[in-house]
C-alpha cells in the first residue's frame, strides 16, 4: 500500500504540524480545510488514509464519513477521526459512522504516528 494521507482539518496550525510530522515520517500529505467538498476531494485524490476532523465548516466529519462509507470505492478506506470534544457520545457516533480509529484533541505526535502507521501497513 502507498503512503498517501489526506488531512481534512480546518485549524491551519494543527494542519501544519501534522503535515510536517507525517512528511518527516515519509508520507505524502495533502490537506483540505472545509467540509463542503471534502468528499469530492477524497474521491479525486485517492489517498491511502484520511485524517478527518469532526468540527468542520460546511459539513461535519460524521456526515462526510457516512457518505464515504456509502460509496463502494471508499467503503474500506482507513479513516482516523479527530475531535475536540472527546465525549463518549462522539466516540459512539464515530464508531457508528464507520471510523477506523478515533482520537481526541489534544493528542501527542507519537499517538498520531502510531495510529497512521497501524492503519496503513505496508
Amino acid at each position: 500500500m502507498g503512503r498517501h494521507v489526506l488531512l481534512i482539518e480546518d485549524e491551519p496550525n494543527i494542519s501544519e504540524a501534522i503535515r510536517f510530522l507525517l512528511s518527516r515520517d515519509g508520507w505524502q500529505v495533502d490537506t483540505h480545510s472545509n467540509g463542503h467538498d471534502a468528499v469530492e476531494t477524497v474521491h479525486s485524490s485517492c489517498p491511502d488514509l484520511v485524517i478527518l476532523d469532526v468540527m468542520l465548516p460546511g459539513k461535519s466529519g460524521f456526515e462526510i464519513l457516512t457518505e464515504l462509507r456509502a460509496n463502494p470505492q471508499t467503503k474500506t478506506l482507513p479513516v482516523l477521526m479527530l475531535t475536540a470534544r472527546g465525549q463518549s457520545r462522539d466516540r459512539e457516533m464515530a464508531e457508528k459512522a464507520g471510523a477506523s480509529r478515533f482520537m481526541t484533541k489534544p493528542f501527542s505526535n507519537a499517538e498520531v504516528l502510531d495510529a497512521v502507521r497501524e492503519l496503513v501497513r505496508p
Binding site: 496550525n13 494543527i14 501544519e16 504540524a17 518527516r24 475536540a84 470534544r85 484533541k105 493528542f107 501527542s108
Partner: protein, 436 residues
C-alpha cells in the same frame, strides 16, 4: 402544625351517621364528653393517637378525618416513598407516621423537596454542558488550540534537525496559538463564573414567583389601582432573587394589571354577586375573555368569594406555567401530572369552556368543580398553528351557578401516588396499589 379546622366537623358527621352518642364515643376513646364536644366543634386541635383511636372506633381511614397541611405532608411522604427504590417504606402507615411524628415527617418532607430541587439543578447543569452552544464552542476552541500547541511544541522539542524556516514558522504558530489559548480560556472562565452566580439560587423562577404571590395571598393590592410602576414593585419584592424570576413576575403582573383594569375590583365583585359564579356570563357582562375571569376570580382579596379557589395554567405541551393551590387538590411539585384533569381536555377543544366535577382519588376524596378553557396566546397568523394556554379554575364542589352534570370524574395527582385501578391514563405503576 396547622390542621384543617374541619376535622372536628367530620368526626361529628361520621358519629351521627353511625347513630353513636357523643358520650359513648368519648368513653370508648377515654376522654371526657365535653372535651370531645370541643373537638367536634373544631375548638380543640386533634391529631396523633387520639385521631387514630377515633377513626378506629367510627370505622374510617384516619385520613378521612384529617386534611389540609397534614394531607399535603402525607402526599409528599408518599412521593418520597415512591422515589425510594432500595428501601420499602410502610406507605400504608404514612398517616400514622405523620400523625405521631409530625416534626420528623416535616423534616423528611423538606429533605425530599430539597433533593428534588437539587436533582433539577444537576439536570440543568448537565444539560448545559451537553447543549449549551456557547460552552461547547468555548471548550472546542480551548482544546483545538491546546492540540495545536502540543503538536507544534513537541515537533520543536523532538525533531533533531529542523530547517530554520520551519523552526521559525512553528515558533510563530506557537506564539499565535498561545495568545489564542489565553483569550479563550479567559472567556471560558468568565462564562463559567457568570453561570455559577446565576445557579446560586436553586428555586426555579416559577417557584419564586409563586412564593411572592403566596406572600400576598394571590391578591396584588398594589396592582389594583392607577398606573402601577411594575419595575419598582418587582425590585422591592424580596422573594424575587433572579433575573429570570423577575422577568416571570413581570409577565404575570402585566397580565394581572390588565385584568384589574378591565375588571376593577368593585365592578367585578358587583357583577359576581348579581350573576353568581358563572364565568361565561361574567365574561359576557364584563366584555373580557373567559380565561381572564378565571384568573381574576383566583386573585380576589382574602375572605371574599374566589380567594380560596385554585388555578392552574399550562401550555400546550402540558407543562404547568402557574399553580395556585387549593386545599385538598394535590398537584405534584415536580414531574408529570394526571392526564385526566379537565385542564388537558380543554386543550383538545380550544375556546370551548369545560365544566367538570372531579374527585381526586386517594386520600380525602374531596369533590371539586373545575372550569377550564384553552385559548390561543398569539395573534392569528396565516398558516401558522396557534400556541395555546389552558386555564383551569378549581373550586370546592357546589359553588357554581349551573347544576353540574351528574357524573363525577375520578382524577389523580400523579401516577406514582395514585391508587386508581384500570386507568387508561396510567403511565407508571402506583406505589399504593395495596391500600385504600
Amino acid at each position: 402544625m396547622h390542621r384543617g379546622t374541619l376535622t372536628g366537623s367530620r368526626i361529628r358527621e361520621r358519629r351521627m351517621m353511625l347513630g353513636l352518642r357523643q358520650a359513648d364515643l368519648a368513653r370508648q376513646i377515654g376522654i371526657s364528653a365535653s372535651y370531645l364536644n370541643l373537638i367536634e366543634h373544631n375548638r380543640r386541635r386533634i391529631g396523633g393517637k387520639l385521631l387514630l383511636d377515633i377513626a378506629k372506633v367510627i370505622g374510617v381511614e384516619p385520613s378521612m378525618l384529617s386534611e389540609g397541611a397534614e394531607a399535603a405532608l402525607i402526599a409528599v411522604l408518599r412521593e418520597a416513598a415512591a422515589d425510594s427504590t432500595t428501601v420499602r417504606a410502610e406507605t400504608d402507615r404514612a398517616d400514622e407516621f405523620a400523625g405521631r411524628f409530625p416534626g420528623w415527617a416535616e423534616v423528611l418532607v423538606n429533605a425530599h423537596r430539597r433533593i428534588a430541587s437539587l436533582e433539577r439543578s444537576v439536570e440543568a447543569l448537565t444539560d448545559r454542558v451537553a447543549h449549551d452552544p456557547q460552552l461547547a464552542a468555548s471548550l472546542h476552541e480551548v482544546l483545538s488550540t491546546a492540540a495545536s500547541i502540543r503538536s507544534t511544541a513537541s515537533i520543536l522539542a523532538e525533531t533533531q534537525e529542523i530547517e530554520p524556516e520551519w523552526r521559525n514558522r512553528f515558533h510563530r504558530n506557537i506564539n499565535e496559538d498561545s495568545a489564542r489559548l489565553a483569550e479563550s480560556s479567559k472567556a471560558l472562565v468568565s462564562y463559567l463564573d457568570h453561570a455559577e452566580a446565576k445557579e446560586e439560587q436553586l428555586a426555579s423562577p416559577q417557584e419564586e414567583v409563586e412564593a411572592m404571590l403566596a406572600d400576598h395571598a394571590y391578591h396584588l393590592e398594589m396592582l389594583e389601582t392607577g398606573n402601577p410602576d411594575l419595575a419598582q414593585i418587582i425590585a422591592k419584592e424580596p422573594r424575587l432573587t433572579t433575573d429570570s424570576a423577575r422577568l416571570n413576575a413581570r409577565v404575570f403582573m402585566e397580565k394581572y394589571a390588565l385584568d384589574a383594569l378591565a375588571m376593577p375590583l368593585q365592578k367585578f365583585q358587583d357583577a359576581l354577586s348579581r350573576i353568581g359564579l358563572d364565568p361565561t356570563a361574567l365574561a359576557q357582562r364584563l366584555s373580557v375573555p373567559v380565561q381572564s375571569v378565571l384568573s381574576r376570580l383566583a386573585a380576589m382579596p382574602e375572605g371574599t368569594l374566589g380567594s380560596d379557589f385554585g388555578l392552574i395554567v399550562c401550555d400546550n405541551s402540558g407543562s404547568l406555567l402557574f399553580h395556585k393551590a387549593i386545599q385538598g387538590f394535590a398537584v405534584p411539585r415536580f414531574g408529570s401530572t394526571c392526564p385526566l384533569w379537565p385542564l388537558y381536555a380543554a386543550l383538545s377543544r380550544p375556546m370551548t369552556p369545560i365544566f367538570q366535577r372531579v374527585e381526586q382519588v386517594g386520600r380525602d376524596a374531596l369533590l371539586f368543580d373545575c372550569f377550564a378553557v384553552a385559548h390561543p396566546v398569539v395573534p392569528p397568523a396565516l398558516n401558522v398553528d396557534p400556541l395555546y394556554h389552558a386555564t383551569m379554575l378549581i373550586t370546592p364542589a357546589g359553588q357554581f351557578n349551573r347544576a353540574p352534570q351528574a357524573e363525577v370524574r375520578p382524577v389523580g395527582s400523579t401516577c406514582r401516588i395514585c391508587p386508581r385501578e384500570n386507568c387508561s391514563g396510567r403511565r407508571e405503576r402506583s406505589m399504593l396499589s395495596e391500600e385504600f
